[in-house]
């Protein structure tokens, strides 16, 4: 077999090869490390690479397999982890100067579960600082380029994870989603990304941005891989009080059951103004495809969603202003030296350590929680949140799942929106409502936009804990758009011959 093409394979395909003993985990990891070496100078998806760790983890899996141990389907298949998720002994920066040298003393629950399954860690992926942004341009270290067009952003904030998967640098990645940070970059990079139900995946070890909205989720090249990765990370965790005390269901068995008879609602509010024409056309085509496959598709109106974006920009910054207070130079991370007293040290550390978008949100949130303003801002935003959840609930009395574009546009150019925070915030207009409602949603590729040839993501939304049905629908979309399945080499990345492989 051609080991030089391993990095183009899906995790489930690699899993079969590994199970049959046709390749070793070491060979798989080496293939991805080689691909990283090749693509990374142009894509820059990672903040920290951990090749030695990945190889030693791969070696352990190979030994276990040689001993005939019963292994998880993902054992030996490497992952990339967003740099906002704590990894014991591996630097976790949140793409911020203030945590540039922070090495966590513990593993996030999801990372521990991955280690237990035996998925080698390739490295920590780039992101917008503290997950605040929609383009990965807010990284304090460097931007990440979209593998489809290196002049364009990969989306954000999990842009590094999305680009790494799209460029074939990693078969699987973890992202985090507070207002669309998994789904929007998945859409812009032409991969699959799932934001699970709030409470399905433990947040223990996820550096908090907005605790009531944050959720870790899987990102991969296909729905099957997303389902496989979800089954490793989902499930109750006693270390997270907001973790649902339920057993994680089986996400795989119903994946191929199709959409016949499933009732979909296309969200009218997200198909009009502000949505790029090619995006709208691709989503309409997807809806028609579902109908042809036997689903019922109708249009639904959810007028309260109009208020989701402003409510989000009160709640998320409010929580962030409190969550980020601990970065003060006292215990870990950056400390501004030469201060006269502790207050000056804290102020200078924060002035120096946080980027402009993080500061903007801390200021917004601090204001929203201030005495005399709390009710008008935070209180009102919480009422909108209840309203949004209620409107979704009513919609799900009529239909089983909702459809919308994931992002109003395809990937935009680097720098295009970085001077205009409001334009950037609008990137998440379709994704934010699910976070407010604590409900799951997936982004799955549904073709390319006619005007720019860039991938379009279809968002499939469902009520809490409807992941099995959402993933089943996404899997059906994959079959409708075989051509939209991501090309790992992307548009702009030159295929460079691999060295050291056993190319045939």
């Amino acid at each position: 077999m051609n080991r030089g093409s391993l990095h183009r394979m899906r995790a489930w395909e690699l899993s079969r090869l590994l199970a049959r003993g046709e390749v070793s985990s070491r060979e798989v990891v080496e293939a991805f490390l080689a691909r990283i070496e090749e693509a990374e100078p142009e894509v820059r998806a990672f903040i920290t690479l951990t090749p030695d760790l990945a190889l030693s983890q791969a070696a352990r899996v190979d030994e276990a397999r040689a001993r005939g141990e019963n292994l998880h389907p993902l054992a030996g298949i490497p992952v990339a982890v967003k740099d906002v998720i704590c990894t014991d002994g591996v630097r976790t920066t949140c793409a911020s100067r203030i945590l540039e040298n922070f090495v966590p003393p513990y593993d996030a629950t999801v990372v521990r579960r991955l280690r237990e399954v035996g998925t080698p860690l390739l490295g920590k992926t780039n992101m917008d600082e503290f997950a605040m942004g929609s383009s990965t341009e807010n990284s304090a270290f460097h931007p990440t380029m979209n593998p489809w067009d290196l002049e364009r952003v990969p989306g954000g904030s999990s842009g590094g994870s999305a680009a790494a998967v799209a460029a074939g640098e990693a078969p699987l990645a973890l992202g985090s989603d507070t207002g669309g940070s998994i789904r929007q970059p998945a859409a812009l990079c032409g991969i699959v990304g799932l934001k699970p139900t709030y409470g399905l995946v433990s947040r223990y070890g996820l550096v908090a941005f907005a605790s009531s909205l944050d959720q870790i989720g899987p990102m991969a090249g296909c729905v099957m891989d997303v389902a496989l990765l979800l089954s490793v990370i989902a499930g109750h965790d006693p270390m997270d009080s907001t973790s649902a005390p339920l057993p994680a269901p089986d996400y795989l068995s119903s994946l191929e059951e199709g959409v016949e008879g499933v009732r979909f609602g296309l969200v009218r509010e997200f198909m009009g103004e502000g949505i790029q024409r090619g995006v709208r056309r691709a989503v309409e085509a997807a809806a028609e495809g579902l109908a042809r496959a036997g689903a019922q598709v109708e249009e639904v109106s959810l007028p309260a969603l109009e208020y989701a974006l402003p409510a989000y920009y009160i709640i998320a910054p409010a929580e962030a202003s409190s969550n980020l207070a601990r970065y003060d130079g006292v215990r870990w991370g950056l400390r501004a030296e030469g201060s006269r007293d502790v207050v000056e040290m804290q102020m200078r550390t924060r002035a120096k350590g946080f980027g402009p978008e993080v500061k903007r949100r801390i200021l917004l949130g601090t204001f929203a929680l201030s005495a005399g303003y709390y009710e008008a801002w935070y209180g009102q935003a919480q009422r909108v949140r209840t309203l949004v959840a209620e409107e979704f609930r009513r919609a799900y009395e009529r239909v089983e799942l909702l459809l919308s574009p994931t992002s109003p546009t395809t990937a935009f150019r680097l720098g295009e929106r970085s001077e205009d925070p409001l334009a950037m915030y609008l990137s998440d207009v379709c994704t934010i409502p699910s976070n407010l409602a604590g409900a799951p949603a997936v982004s799955v590729p549904c073709g390319l936009a006619e005007e720019d040839g860039l991938p379009v993501g279809l968002q499939i939304l469902g009520p809490p804990f409807s992941e099995p049905l959402i993933l089943r629908a996404a899997r059906a979309i994959e079959d409708l758009f075989p051509g939209a399945r991501p090309a790992p080499l992307g548009g702009g990345v030159r295929p460079v011959p691999l060295s050291g492989g056993e190319g045939v």
Binding site: P104, P105, Y106, P238, S241, S322, A325, Q346, L369
Partner: protein, 487 residues
């Protein structure tokens, strides 16, 4: 101006460190006095990504305090974040409670010289403690230190805050309130409640009204003992009265009590008050205690100090003061009642406990409740004394050894050969010997000088090396003297 025109209102905010095995939101040990930063983990250090999980035992303790004070338990309580920057607080916010506390209302009844006084409780809530900042250097003063050291062992220790209504009307009543609350806490077994170690911390608000007008609230901090509490409030009450008498106005502010000078000094004015930006803690779920659980907790409350004092006094014929001593000394009332149940006389059990036993505990630096003395062992000891098997001095020695070794009195008495000589035949032999050796005294006794008997008893006692039972010895001597006379 007459003093009667003033009206003092005092409200207290009392922080109680709960004596749970682990901290409020993590499994680190909750222990005082360990080396700095040895009782910490990612959660109580507020490491990025860590999350709190509520300690069910801490919730139970807080509810027990609420129920003991007759407070109403909220069907749904919330934790809030109290945001402010301080280096000894790892997250720069404290997880506390705000508008939906665990308990509201309730009261505590004080026994004052003027009669019973009921002080209303405003609220009772649960929150996490902060770490400690140490300022090295000779003076220990913040502004003279060039650096600070932080110890986070205490960070995350569970605290219950009890807030009273401003219904306390004198510094002495404030002292009584804290003393009574302390006894309730000890009876519940939910806290060490040691003011000196900081496991019971008191902040106070005091305002002095004049001529029916409301006074201005002044907060007084740094009250590290019951004595400091009363002194500080007395000083502050006097200060406010003097200002008002001179036609001045009291400034709303926070003042610090200086132990050495016995005065309060201004710490900060109200304008500098913080905006804590409270909002619901998103990392914790609402607390909705199961009504069945609350019912069980209420049913399992121990007898509270006031009831117990009343019961002990009436049941055992003790004075209020005597009952109060038994109740206020942890463990003492239990030993007392167990001893009585084992047959000891209540009066002598009380006398032994309040006198010799507390003295020994004091000398040995042992908490009476942790001395190992059981009511059963005390009753056994008292039986020896009553039977006349050992004398008072010996009984004290035996008690000391009981505390020393934890052995029971029977064993000690036997091993030391302390058992008094009560064999009448033997005592008569002893008496004959003494009479033979002192013929002159024997003659005088028979001649009617009965006082000389005590001299002869003393001589016989000496011969017995102090082991003879004095009453029986006296009886034996009398018989010998009379009998010989008859011969």
């Amino acid at each position: 101006m007459k003093a009667g025109e003033f009206r003092t209102s005092i409200g207290l905010e009392i922080h109680v460190e709960l004596s749970t095995a682990t901290k409020l939101f993590c499994s680190c040990p909750n222990r005082f006095g360990a080396p700095p930063n040895t009782l910490v983990c990612p959660v109580c250090l507020g490491e990025p990504g860590s999350l709190p999980v509520l300690n069910a035992r801490a919730l139970e303790y807080a509810l027990r305090i609420g129920l003991a004070l007759g407070a109403e338990v909220a069907p749904r309580a919330l934790f809030h974040r109290k945001n402010y920057f301080y280096p000894d607080m790892p997250k720069n916010f404290q997880i506390s409670q705000y508008d939906l506390p665990l308990c509201r209302g309730g009261s505590l009844t004080l026994e004052t010289p003027e009669g019973e006084k009921v002080v209303g409780i405003e609220r009772i809530h649960l929150e996490e403690d902060t770490g400690k900042t140490l300022h090295p250097g000779e003076t220990g003063r913040i502004y003279e230190a060039t650096y600070a050291l932080l110890d986070y062992n205490r960070a995350g220790v569970p605290l219950v805050e009890v807030v009273t209504r401003p219904e306390i009307s004198s510094p002495e009543e404030a002292r009584l309130f804290v003393a009574e609350l302390r006894e309730v806490l000890l009876a519940l077994g939910v806290s060490d409640a040691r003011m000196e170690e900081g496991s019971l911390r008191v902040d106070s608000n005091i305002s002095v009204g004049i001529e029916g007008r409301m006074g201005t609230k002044v907060e007084v901090k740094n009250l590290n003992s019951l004595r400091s509490l009363r002194r500080a409030l007395e000083y502050e009450e006097r200060r406010q009265k003097e200002i008002l008498s001179a036609g001045g106005e009291v400034v709303q502010e926070t003042r610090h009590f200086d132990e050495r000078s016995g005065t309060t000094v201004s710490l900060r004015a109200k304008e500098e008050a913080f905006d804590y930006r409270y909002f619901p803690e998103p990392d914790l779920v609402p607390v909705e205690p199961d009504p069945g659980w609350i019912k069980d907790l209420r049913a399992s409350l121990p007898e509270l100090p006031r009831e117990r004092r009343a019961r002990l006094a009436s049941l055992y014929g003790l004075s209020r003061q005597e009952a109060a001593l038994l109740v206020s000394t942890p463990g003492l009332a239990v030993i007392f009642e167990d001893a009585v149940r084992e047959g000891a006389n209540a009066r002598s059990a009380y006398n032994w406990l309040s006198g010799e036993f507390l003295g020994l505990c004091n000398a040995r630096g042992v908490e009476p409740g942790e001395s190992g003395l059981t009511g059963r062992a005390l009753a056994q000891l008292l039986r020896f004394v009553e039977r006349g098997a050992i004398n008072l001095r010996q009984a004290k020695e035996v008690l000391a050894e009981m505390l020393e070794t934890g052995r029971d009195p029977q064993e000690i008495v036997e091993e030391r050969g302390l058992s008094q000589l009560t064999d009448l035949a033997f005592l008569k032999d002893l008496a004959r010997k003494v009479v033979e050796n002192h013929p002159e005294e024997a003659r005088r006794y028979r001649a009617g000088q009965v006082k000389v008997l005590s001299f002869l008893v003393g001589q016989a006692m000496r011969l017995s090396e102090g082991r003879a039972n004095p009453a029986l010895l006296k009886q034996a001597l009398e018989e010998v003297l009379k009998g010989q006379g008859a011969v």
